[in-house]
């Protein structure tokens, strides 16, 4: 999520393909190094919408469709 742009696709790939997974890991780390927060939106079977914050690539469920990066919160 970026000012003036909305969401921007940063990287995509299949975590089952080693090369693509590494690309996703690199981008994930780059975003966190830049100070972004990462969240994984989820949907349970009852249609309930949730989100989980993740701090490490290994915390992302293997079947997650996407990770959303957004600026870190600051007191207003």
């Amino acid at each position: 999520m970026k000012p003036g742009h909305g969401d921007v696709l940063l990287a995509e790939g299949d975590v089952e393909v080693a090369e693509e997974e590494q690309r996703l890991i690199d981008e994930f780390r780059r975003q966190l190094d830049e100070g972004m927060w990462a969240a994984v939106p989820t949907n349970d079977l009852g249609g309930r919408h949730e989100a989980a914050m993740v701090r490490d690539f290994s915390e992302i469920p293997r079947d997650a469709e996407r990770v959303i990066f957004f600026p870190r919160a600051a007191g207003g």
């Binding site: 999520m1 742009h5 969240a39 309930r48 989980a52 914050m53 959303i68 919160a73 600051a74």
Partner: protein, 187 residues
Amino acid sequence: MSAGLAALLVALVVLGAMAFGPDLRRWLRRRAARRRPPRQPAYDPGRELRAERKAQELLRSVVGEENFEMYRRLGFIRVRGRGGYGYLLYPHRPVVAFDEESGELLNEYCVRFPDESDPLAGNRLPDSDDVLAKWMALHGDERRLIEDANMHLPGRQVDPSQVRRDLRRLREWEGRGSETALDKVSR
């Protein structure tokens, strides 16, 4: 004698201009370019609107149709927190906490998500992205968001009478929905 000298000077100037003129012009242009501030991209009046439309689509895809409809119709999203607290999420305004049972207003949590990576685009997320950032942060780590925010008593930035009116509108809106829809809206 002086007329001859003047003619010689004129001839020298003309020859100098012919010989060095193009180089001189290029040097002057480069010098002016160095002094000029970097060129700003042309103002695009539709950029914010396009960004907001994209942000709305992302919000809808993450929070679901019912929550998105709440935002579209009421201008905020309600999130049920832990311990009987509820939160109203407005775009670019503090998160308002209230008691789910009594409706009493409890606090305002001032929180921003500034992005300084592109000075030309500003540091404010589109409205719907700001709401989504609050929604994800509250769902993902309620305590962390509350700790990062500046806490104030109700009424510092958001008019309490407006919040009470919004809570009434929320109840009315929920009352019109089916039980299934209510379940999906609630956490």
